[in-house]
Symmetry: C2
């Protein structure tokens, strides 16, 4: 963010988000995996096969964005994308054997959240979340208004 916003919430939201993502990317780079790709694998490893359209909601992405990420994972042979029986529009995603193997070798990323927020007063964390949540809600309202 620019100079005017140096001390603003939105400026720090950006910096914080990018710093966290950079650390995630750096940790995953040796495994040739991006952060959003990791989230997809995480979902499939943790909750089993998932419909692509549900993943859109779970990961809070646009259909088009997820489509690209999934294509990359399929190309790498980590994920299987198959038409799901009943509804021929939907795709079901699941880990391949290679995907399971890679997942088992991946480092635990929990240290990132820990490093960032451990030791901070939980009351302060709650306030920070409330502020960000409020601001996000208002912004999304404004975004919606124009579209309707």
């Amino acid at each position: 963010m620019s100079g005017t916003e140096v001390s603003s919430v939105s400026g720090w939201a950006k910096r914080c988000f990018f710093a966290g993502r950079a650390l995630m990317d750096k940790t995953l780079r040796p495994h040739d995996l991006g952060s959003t790709q990791w989230y997809v694998l995480w979902q499939l490893a943790t909750n089993g096969p998932t419909a692509q359209r549900d993943l859109v909601r779970i990961l809070d992405l646009e259909r088009a964005t997820l489509s690209g990420v999934v294509a990359t994972l399929v190309r790498k042979g980590l994920v299987d994308q198959s038409a799901s029986g009943k509804d021929q529009r939907q795709r079901t995603l699941q880990l391949t054997e290679a995907g399971k193997k890679l997942w088992s070798e991946l480092p635990d990323l929990h240290f990132i959240q820990d490093a960032a927020f451990s030791g901070i007063d939980p009351a302060d964390l709650a306030i920070a979340i409330r502020v960000l949540q409020t601001a996000t809600g208002r912004l999304q309202d404004l975004l919606g208004k124009g579209t309707e």
Copy 2:
């Protein structure tokens, strides 16, 4: 962010940042301008001609990223990029006439910050900033360590 982080600070930092940027992008779209392009024009309009290498620090971007954004603005004829006399490596950026004209026609984006944060207890804002700032600092420390 994924389901596990639904209530985390980092998850909301991401959402808040993207919501703000989306509103900015939507407002600027009729003028065929991206958010980071706007920040560059803002700097040049507000503080006059600026060295590209300083802009890297002011906007907190990588050299490579700024290089691309500037190339786009030059291609659009909004910004002039010239070698700056003394040091033949450096480039100085300034608005062209077309750039000045466009800037004068652009809507005021202040309403975005206002909409997001007005009416929120300043003490809470300060806490949110402190939390994000602390987390960012710790993450950047961790990022740095690996590189040294």
